[in-house]
C-alpha cells in the first residue's frame, strides 16, 4: 500500500504542471479574484474626493443652509418652476439632489419650538435623488441625516446613542470569529471538495482510461491496498490543494469585506485567537472530511468511463456539499443534537462552526471524525469491490 502512496506522490509532486495547476493556481486565483472584487466594491461605494455634488433647493431655509455649509455641502437655491427641469437633470445624472422645502419652513419650526402647536402643520420636505448614481445616493443620505438630526434637536423626546463613542461592545476576536464561523465552513467544504475533484478522477478513471490500472491489477497486490493507497494519497494532495485555496481566501478576506488598516490584520487576528489545540481539532475534522470526499469521488470515478464523464457525474455531489455548507451560513452556532453529528459531511460543517466560534465539544469532534473515517472506510470497501469487478474495470 505504501508503494502506491509513494507512486502517487511521485506522480504528483515531480510533475511541475500538476503542482502548479492544483496547488498554486487555486490559491493565487482566489486571492486575485477576491481582492479584485473587494477593491472594486470599495471603489464602487466610495465617491471621488474631488467631486463637487450638484444640489438644488427650492425655498432653502436659512437654518438648513447654515447646517449644510457646516457640513461643507454647497446648496444652490432654485425657483419652484425650475423643479421639473432639475428632476430631469437628476434622472439623467447631471444633477444629484433636489430638495423642496415648503415656504416659511423656519417659521413653522420656530412656532413649534416655542410650544405653539395649535396652528402647527408639520412641514413636508421632499428630497429627489437618483439611486443609481453613487454621489446622488450619498448626498441624499447626508441631507436626510442632517434633517433628521435637526428635527431631533428641535423636539427632544428622548435620544438614543447620542455620543461619539462606539456602543457596540463586541470584541475584535468575537467579531472576527463570528464572521469566520458564518463564512468559512462553506468555503472550506467547497475548497476541499474541488481540491479532491482536481486529483481523484485523474488518478482513478484516468488510469483506467489509459489502461495502466490493469497493469497494477495483475500484480499480487491486494485490491484493498490499491483502494486504500489511492484514497490516502489523493486525500493528502487534495488537502494541500484545499489549503492553497484557503490561504488565498484568508489573505484576500480583509480586502473582500473592506476592513480598514493593513490587509493582514484580520488574518493575524484569526491566526492568534485560536489555540494550537483548536487547529489540531480543525485539521482532524478537515482531513476526515477530505478522506470522505475523496472516497466518494473515487467511487464515482471508478464507475465512470472517462475523466470527463467522472467530472460531470461528480457535479451533483458538489452541489449537495455546497448546500450543506450553506446551511450554517445563517445559523449562529453549532447544533447540540448528538444525532446530527452522525451525518457525514454535515457533522464536519457543524464542528467547524463550533471550533471557529469557540463553542465545540470534544465529544462531537470525536464522533464527527470517527463517522467520517468510517464512511471513508465504507468507500474503500466499495472501491475494492469495484476494482475486483471486471464489469467496472473493463467495460467499454
Amino acid at each position: 500500500m505504501m508503494a502506491i502512496v509513494r507512486k502517487e506522490f511521485r506522480r504528483f509532486f515531480t510533475d511541475r504542471r500538476m503542482v502548479l495547476s492544483v496547488l498554486l493556481l487555486p490559491g493565487l486565483m482566489i486571492y486575485l479574484i477576491y481582492s479584485f472584487i473587494g477593491s472594486a466594491a470599495t471603489d464602487f461605494l466610495t465617491t471621488n474626493e474631488d467631486y463637487v455634488p450638484v444640489i438644488y433647493a427650492v425655498n432653502l431655509p436659512d437654518s438648513v443652509a447654515e447646517l449644510s455649509s457646516q457640513a461643507d455641502v454647497e446648496i444652490q437655491p432654485a425657483e419652484a418652476d425650475q423643479a421639473a427641469e432639475i428632476k430631469t437633470q437628476i434622472a439623467e445624472k447631471s444633477a444629484d439632489l433636489l430638495a423642496i422645502f415648503p415656504e416659511g419652513f423656519d417659521k413653522q419650526v420656530s412656532l413649534a419650538m416655542a410650544g405653539n402647536t395649535q396652528d402647527y402643520t408639520p412641514p413636508r420636505v421632499e428630497l429627489y435623488y437618483n439611486s443609481t448614481k453613487i454621489e446622488s445616493n450619498s448626498m441624499y443620505a447626508l441631507l436626510q441625516t442632517e434633517l433628521n438630526d435637526y428635527r431631533d434637536a428641535s423636539f427632544t423626546l428622548f435620544t438614543v446613542n447620542p455620543g461619539e463613542q462606539s456602543y457596540d461592545l463586541v470584541t475584535e476576536e468575537s467579531a472576527t470569529s463570528f464572521m469566520l464561523a458564518s463564512l468559512l465552513p462553506m468555503l472550506l467544504m467547497l475548497f476541499l471538495f474541488t481540491g479532491s475533484m482536481s486529483v481523484a478522477p485523474e488518478s482513478i478513471v484516468g488510469e483506467k482510461e489509459r489502461g495502466t490500472i490493469a497493469t497494477l491489477l495483475v500484480t499480487p497486490m491486494r485490491r484493498w491496498e490499491l483502494a486504500l493507497g489511492k484514497i490516502v494519497s489523493i486525500s493528502c494532495i487534495a488537502l494541500l490543494s484545499g489549503l492553497s485555496s484557503f490561504i488565498g481566501i484568508m489573505l484576500s478576506l480583509p480586502k473582500l469585506i473592506g476592513i480598514e488598516g493593513p490587509s493582514t490584520q484580520l488574518s493575524n487576528t484569526a491566526a492568534t485567537m485560536y489555540a494550537p489545540v483548536d487547529y489540531l481539532m480543525l485539521l482532524a475534522v478537515v482531513f476526515s472530511t477530505v478522506l470522505l470526499f475523496v472516497g466518494l469521488i473515487s467511487i464515482i470515478s471508478a464507475y465512470a468511463k472517462t475523466v470527463k464523464e467522472a467530472n460531470t457525474l461528480v457535479t451533483p455531489l458538489m452541489i449537495v456539499v455546497m448546500l450543506v455548507g450553506v446551511t450554517v451560513m445563517f445559523s449562529q452556532s453549532a447544533t447540540t443534537n448528538l444525532m446530527l453529528y452522525l451525518i457525514p459531511a454535515y457533522n464536519s460543517v457543524q464542528v467547524i462552526v463550533g471550533i471557529l466560534s469557540f463553542s465545540y465539544q470534544p465529544l462531537f469532534v470525536a464522533i464527527t471524525v470517527l463517522t467520517n473515517v468510517l464512511a471513508a472506510g465504507i468507500c474503500v470497501f466499495i472501491l475494492t469491490r469495484m476494482f475486483n469487478s471486471e464489469k467496472v474495470m473493463f467495460s467499454r
Binding site: 511521485r10 489509459r210 495502466t212 490493469a214 471486471e390 473493463f394
Partner: protein, 263 residues
C-alpha cells in the same frame, strides 16, 4: 514433463446490450465467448492459442491472468486456482497485452523498481535483474526517459521487461508481435525461445501461422470459443501446412455449428 497449467471447462459469457443486439441482428441476450475450454500446458514449452479474431483467445488469456472471472470451470496454474487464489496465481505469472500499459509519466527505471516492490522482490535481486534485462533489450540508454517519450517498439520492450520483474514461471502473452516492426518482433520472439530454454512456460495467442510454426511446441485451435484441436504442432498440422490445415478445421467447425443451429 510437468503439467503447470490446466484449464478445465473454462466458460465465459458476455451480456449483449440492446444496441449490440440490433447491430448483429440477434435476439440472444448473451454471447458465449469461451465455451467449455479445456487444455493443459507443460513446463518448458511454448503453447499457442491459434484462432481467428473474436474466437475467444484474449478472453481465455484474461481469465488465466485473473483479470476476469470465468462463469464456469476453473484453471489451475502451478496448482493454484484462478478462482479461489487469484493473488497467488498473479505472483507466478506475467501477463502481457497491448491493453496493459505503463504510465507515460514515469521512467522504465522507476517503473521496474515500483513493480518489483509490488511483487515484493528483494531489492538486491531486483537491481541485478534490472541491469541484466535492461542491457539485454537495450533499455539501459533509455532507462531515465519517460515512457511517454519512448518509441512504440521501446515501449513494448519496456512492458515486457517490467512484466518479468518477479521472474515468473509462466508468461501469458496476448498477440506478442502485434504492432511491432520485424526487428523488434524478432527480438521478442528470440527472447521467448530463450525463456523456454530456461524452463519457463509461455502461453501465447495469435492468428499468425508463421509465428506459431516458428515458436510453438504445442497449439490449441480455438474457433467460436471452442477448442477444436489441441496437440503438438506436428500432430495438428499432419501432412499439410498449418495454414491449410487450419482452414480445413475452420470450415468444418463453422459448417458443424451452422448445421447445429439449423437443427
Amino acid at each position: 514433463m510437468r503439467e503447470i497449467l490446466r484449464a478445465e471447462s473454462l466458460s465465459k459469457t458476455f451480456k449483449l446490450s440492446t444496441k449490440q443486439q440490433r447491430i448483429e441482428h440477434t435476439k440472444q441476450r448473451v454471447r458465449t465467448a469461451v465455451d467449455q475450454l479445456s487444455f493443459s500446458a507443460y513446463e518448458g514449452e511454448i503453447f499457442g492459442l491459434l484462432g481467428p479474431n473474436g474466437a475467444g483467445k484474449t478472453t481465455t488469456l484474461r481469465m488465466l491472468a485473473t483479470l476476469i472471472k470465468p462463469d464456469a470451470g476453473d484453471a489451475l496454474i502451478d496448482g493454484y486456482s484462478i478462482r479461489s487464489q487469484p493473488e497467488v496465481v498473479r505472483s507466478r505469472i506475467a501477463f502481457l497485452t497491448s491493453e496493459l500499459k505503463l504510465e507515460d509519466f514515469f521512467t522504465p527505471d522507476y517503473l521496474f523498481d515500483f513493480f518489483s516492490n509490488l511483487h515484493a522482490v528483494d531489492p538486491i535481486v531486483a537491481r541485478q535483474r534490472k541491469q541484466r534485462l535492461f542491457e539485454r533489450f537495450g533499455i539501459d540508454e533509455f532507462a531515465q526517459v519517460k515512457v511517454g517519450d519512448l518509441s512504440s517498439g521501446m515501449k513494448q520492450k519496456a512492458s515486457l521487461v517490467i512484466s518479468l520483474v518477479h521472474d515468473p514461471a509462466i508468461i501469458i502473452f496476448d498477440e506478442p508481435t502485434n504492432g511491432l516492426d520485424v526487428i523488434t518482433a524478432k527480438v521478442v520472439t528470440d527472447f521467448l525461445s530463450e525463456l523456454r530454454d530456461q524452463g519457463k512456460t509461455i502461453i501465447l495467442s495469435t492468428h499468425i501461422f508463421s509465428l506459431v510454426e516458428k515458436l510453438c511446441d504445442r497449439i490449441g485451435v480455438i474457433i467460436n470459443g471452442q477448442m477444436i484441436v489441441c496437440d503438438s504442432l506436428v500432430n495438428v498440422a499432419q501432412d499439410q501446412s498449418l495454414e491449410d490445415r487450419f482452414f480445413e478445421l475452420y470450415l468444418k467447425a463453422t459448417k458443424d455449428s451452422r448445421s447445429g443451429d439449423a437443427a
